[in-house]
Symmetry: C2
């Protein structure tokens, strides 16, 4: 749908139907406009953007891709920059500034009012993955002595700047966070009630330097629309809103998946990443795993005598390696995702290992019996079938043990457990599988 729609818009633009275009765009949601803008030709963008009403323009701008934002800013007059950035919430402004080249940043900061500028600079100071870097300073604070009537007056005055009015924060004269008040509580109260009497004092907050992933997790746990951020002295410095928390959760999920496939995670999206960068993100693990696989190859040559004595043995190597790898990566995946949702904790190690052991018993017996029968029938050699089946039992049990242990070990030594996923587990298990197989085979065949 979006495609034909963007063509219609461009036709309207070409025929200079500006007032109709303005009507169409004004009736749309900012997220849809941003999506539409990513589909139109680059040269149409500045004109289309200028057709938007002022507040819709800023909201749309915040949702556009950084490439398009840069294109627009480069074409903006100083006054246009001022208009857009003064409308933006501070956290969105910071996100944009972070993506722009230095000369564009300079122009932006020159053309915003001094208050916005100092707030942007404040947030830019915090480390990249901290709560501070994620927060906005556009929140509503109330004083404990205010009445509900005063508070509503203040909210109405601040409503255009504040990113959320659903939760207001009560602070003392030193900005120390005392409690919070939801709109729900305000609407239920009487006009003369004192804020300090109706506010909720069970304040849950995060520190400016807390990891943004934990902030998102806490917001999800408490179902918060906004989370207050305090500094070392307990002073309120900003809030993190739920839309940013959701973005963090999604980024982290994608990062985990990429790390589990032995890719170095990147902030850029697939198409925005250059070929060289793509290659860079993948080469490290490919090389490391290639070298480890060479060790497996070395082990294989050690058993050359066995395979030349009984050539049929070689046929089962890929199947044994692959089954071991799959069992190991199933276990490691379950443990990694269990740890990322905090269901599985380090202290549960014995419980996990025992659980995986029981599951591996069931799996290994089913796989061994079915496979043993298959080999016995197709190869007509009971001894080979027995050797392969026994190997499967040992390989499955050991693979699941390795698969569940390594991610927890990684966490224990403060590494990201996602690194211990399929690729690494598979490589380790491959070597183990060959060792187990030939050890069993040499015993049975006396070679």
């Amino acid at each position: 749908m979006a495609i034909s729609f963007s063509k219609t818009i461009e036709t309207l633009l070409k025929n200079k139907k500006y007032s109709s275009l303005r009507d169409v765009l004004s009736s749309m949601n900012e997220a849809d406009i941003a999506e539409l803008f990513s589909d139109v030709k680059e040269e149409s963008l500045p004109l289309l953007f200028r057709l938007l009403p002022k507040d819709l323009a800023a909201d749309t701008f915040a949702l556009m891709d950084s490439d398009e934002q840069e294109l627009l800013i480069r074409g903006f007059s100083d006054n246009e920059i001022k208009e857009v950035f003064d409308e933006l919430y501070v956290d969105d402004a910071v996100d944009i500034v972070e993506e722009m080249p230095a000369n564009v940043v300079k122009r932006i900061l020159q053309n915003t009012d001094s208050q916005t500028r100092s707030m942007i600079n404040e947030i830019l100071k915090y480390p990249e993955d901290s709560a501070g870097s994620l927060m906005t300073t556009d929140y509503i604070s109330l004083r404990p002595k205010m009445t509900v009537q005063d508070a509503i007056k203040r909210i109405r005055r601040k409503i255009h700047e504040a990113e959320t009015i659903y939760t207001c924060y009560v602070t003392d004269d030193n900005r120390k966070l005392l409690g919070y008040l939801s709109v729900r509580m305000l609407l239920l109260a009487q006009p003369d009630d004192k804020i300090c009497d109706i506010m909720d004092e069970t304040v849950i907050c995060v520190h400016t330097l807390d990891d943004k992933e934990n902030v998102a997790k806490d917001m999800n746990k408490y179902d918060f629309v906004a989370m207050p951020v305090v500094d070392d002295e307990g002073r309120l410095v900003g809030i993190v809103t739920f839309d940013d928390a959701i973005d963090v959760m999604q980024e982290e999920a994608t990062e985990d998946i990429e790390r589990m496939a032995a890719i170095s995670p990147t902030e850029d999206s697939y198409f925005k990443t250059s070929d060289i960068k793509h290659a860079k993100n993948r080469i490290f693990w490919l090389l490391a795993l290639m070298l480890s696989a060479a060790i497996t190859g070395g082990i294989l040559t050690k058993y050359e005598d066995a395979t030349s004595a009984i050539p049929a043995l070689a046929a089962f190597i890929p199947m044994l390696m692959s089954t071991g790898g799959n069992c190991g990566s199933q276990s490691s995946t379950l443990i990694i995702s269990g740890m990322s949702t905090d269901e599985i904790k380090l202290k549960d190690y014995l419980k996990v290992a025992f659980m995986e052991f029981r599951v591996s018993l069931i799996l290994s017996i089913v796989l061994a019996v079915l496979n043993g029968i298959r080999i016995w029938i197709t190869e007509g050699d009971f001894l080979i079938a027995l050797v392969v089946s026994l190997s499967i039992i040992c390989i499955v049990i050991i693979s699941q043990f390795i698969g569940c242990s390594l991610p927890m070990l990684a966490k224990k030594i403060k590494l990201d457990p996602a690194v211990m996923a399929a690729p690494l587990i598979t490589t380790i298990v491959d070597a183990a599988a060959i060792l187990i197989y030939f050890n069993i085979a040499t015993r049975f065949f006396n070679i």
Copy 2:
């Protein structure tokens, strides 16, 4: 922290310090109480739960594990069931009912008021993964003719039942959705303003039968705190709140990761799944992949002559298979996660394939050169080094082609792309790697 805290609570309970316990619990957030309750002994739970104030009790109950919920319900009097379930939001009540055995469900439905009961039954009718099953009917609806003053009065009256008051929905006499109104808009308006004059008519809504994953995606796109759900006639039947949308997003992410590791996804958490269920979730793919790996084994035996003529060839098989598998799974992972965030669409196939081709050229050359040199030095055999290096180039290029094509093919034929992840790709690529390797080797060595 939680551990020692739960011990303190149990000591207080043993010493019958009920009023202090009540004070401690009342000062806590419901999410923290639910976490605490999961750490205390089962037998302490009913008593502790009864110490909670009524509204906190219901909020906490909604956040507890279903095992603990069932334990409590079984101990509840009919009156206690009524008290808790009448306090719950309908969507939470439905979530609980869905997890309970039939006899418990019967007792719950017998002891809720007829309105709640009919709303629960209404939501239970919708298919499991639909917007309808996720929604709550506890929303606030307004009429277009109301004044702002009337609206605020209505909101104050409904405030205890409504799950969110941040967005109110404007409907006509037939419940048809006409527009929405945020609390922000209400606070900005004058008391005499008509709702129909200030409401936003650009209604974005979902259908009762829409997939809940798409609902969550839309809510994320539009940064909505709540999404209205309409039926075939455009009548408002409920809303989905952001906390449920976040849960859906997390479930889907976990499901994707599990599917990518060849595990059939389950709704239950790791420890709650029985051994047999764990084994069942994993056995299908293990068997399927085991059989496919047997084919690879068959191919390998076809080249027995080659390996017995030049035994050194066998040493590189694990490395070539593993490199191919890793390249293929890197590509497939990037494509799968790109498609899940809608960055990569089916129409981008040629763009993706060309990008992966360019990246595979870079990667294959780096890997081939480094590995070729290593083999030449350690084995002292230039021809073997050349054969392995040429094989690497072909294997990497083909693996990445398979890795990026299969997930998109899956999507094209309406399968879940996540099925085409590492395990399946690895198995396919293994066979391809052996074929390529021996084809090149037999050519160079004339065997």
